[in-house]
Symmetry: C2
Subunit: 317 residues, 2 copies
């Protein structure tokens, strides 16, 4: 099976998405942008054995590869439009490719995202780069910069679940409903596209949680040139997580674990307005900190200073 | 050196390009599209040891990674705008990264192409995916489909040089001016952006030559639903190539070698108009065949039928 056959068999679906003049099969895709919009361009790579266990189901790998990119789009309050795939494989196994493509299209179809091109190559290890182009009303993209002293800090959903799920996958804890829930947060992360679009009207700054709550919130504060405080007791933890482990361990996954793909943002809007936005987007929004003047991120736990040393996920360390 | 440090030190230049609201450093880049344009999206991956020798100079690798993508943009007659880079590395060597970034920006700067985002990851082997967004006047992109019976088939520049250069790099032929010239066609391929834009007004169909003249012309004919004939004696070969080898070997590199990144196109315009376009774009344009009714690509050599068996480059064979 050569690269053209792989593309034809697994990836060249009829492109039904809006805004596509020419999809897969020419030198490049020809796309029709919406008027009065900025474009958002993101790319994220998953490497086998680094970003996911080699034994992960191919459909989960395909789903994740799209979802982690959609999460960046969500963090800017944008609408995903078109996707390309750069896929490097050690060998072209039909069963793997079939599952991978199924998961990839599942994640894409949830947000009317169209695959419009790609490149399939051979290598020693599976490397998956997905690139997404999105759009957003001109000048309306949410950025990391913009947080203001006095803003409250919020997060969508619960944090720590995906990192705990990955840890469980690797350690092989016996399966249970709680365990299955956590694993699923790692294998099938929900990109907060609707929530991102909904909070865009009130958020001063936003980021998605890929490297851990502490590290990502630090990045937002640094980009905004402000300081922040984080109350550990307010971090939203799922019952599935706290059923399985001591709160200290749950907090460790939440702060440093990464892979949550929830949104963290700052705003000065009234609490009931924030709650309404969460309700309309179908996700809980929790206040867990405050933006301050200065620089750095300090933690408290039940009001007492808490000396947290971050060990968030970083490549090449 | 972690991924953020790599990006900061080697890739996060001040984005001075037009149409960039936010460049590297946020969840995604925010770009301002031109009015009345279609977008072109392309992606191409280079894998170490597959698409280039592991010993190739890092600056050449960086240059090539951009140039092969620019070539796809050229084949559509479009203007390159924004680029993202997905870079997977076994280790982060400063000397390699410095050279790679230098070559990458050299190729980008030749066409005012701005790097606006990327992802740096760790893996067993170097894998480089570059993605470029370009624009072209609405509805004016050159496609592979559109060749019409009666069209002449043209190619820019000379073909076979890059494949011969790669072969020489691998076999270690003694250096000479001719040898250096051919190697440079592989290490520093010139994307035909200006020629692509110039021929867009008269070409019925176009493709860039990445997999070899025969295989790529076959793709163009197939996409257009037509047949073609190719006269081997008319294939433009460089004196550097024919100085070093018998014409039969030179033709083998030209037909099956790949990596030329010249443009092959069909048109029915007058010969002198074609010549004028080549002159204005600074590249020779050579007529080497004819579009016919039917399907398939037949070769002649000095007018006699020539039974050519293609072995163009394909992954996963």
């Amino acid at each position: 099976m050569d690269e053209f056959e792989i593309i034809r068999r697994y990836f060249a679906r009829e492109s039904s998405g809006e805004g596509i003049r020419v999809g897969i099969g020419d030198d490049g895709a020809v796309l029709i942008p919406s008027r009065d919009c900025d474009l958002i361009s993101v790319v994220d790579t998953l490497v086998s054995g680094i970003h996911f266990p080699e034994t992960l189901a191919p459909a989960d790998i395909g789903y994740r590869a799209v979802a982690v990119n959609l999460s960046d789009i969500a963090a800017m309050g944008a609408r995903p439009r078109w996707m390309t795939l750069a896929l490097t494989l050690a060998n072209a196994e039909p069963v793997w490719l079939d599952g991978f493509a199924r998961g990839l299209f599942e994640a894409a179809d949830e947000h009317a995202l169209a695959l419009v091109g790609g490149d399939t190559t051979r290598g020693e290890q599976t490397v998956i780069s997905v690139q997404i182009i999105a759009d957003v009303d001109t000048g309306k993209a949410m950025l990391r910069a913009g947080a203001q002293p006095g803003d409250a800090i919020y997060v969508t959903g619960t944090v720590g679940d995906a990192a705990a799920g990955l840890s469980i996958l690797q350690s092989g804890l016996p399966r249970s409903d709680d365990v299955d829930y956590l694993i699923r947060q790692f294998t099938r992360p929900a990109a907060r596209i609707e929530a991102g679009a909904a909070i865009a009207s009130i958020a001063h700054a936003a980021i998605d949680l890929s490297d851990g709550l502490y590290a990502d919130l630090e990045k937002l504060l640094l980009a905004s040139g402000v300081a922040g405080s984080l109350e550990l007791a307010d971090i939203p933890l799922s019952s599935q997580l706290t059923n399985l482990m001591h709160e200290d361990d749950a907090l460790r996954f939440a702060l440093a674990g990464g892979d949550d793909y929830e949104l963290c943002f700052t705003a000065s809007a009234a609490e009931d307005k924030i709650a309404d936005i969460g309700e309309s987007a179908g996700v809980a929004i929790t206040r867990l900190g405050q933006v301050l003047e200065g620089s750095g991120l300090k933690c408290t736990r039940n009001g007492d200073e808490y000396d947290y040393q971050d060990a968030g996920y970083r490549h090449f360390n």
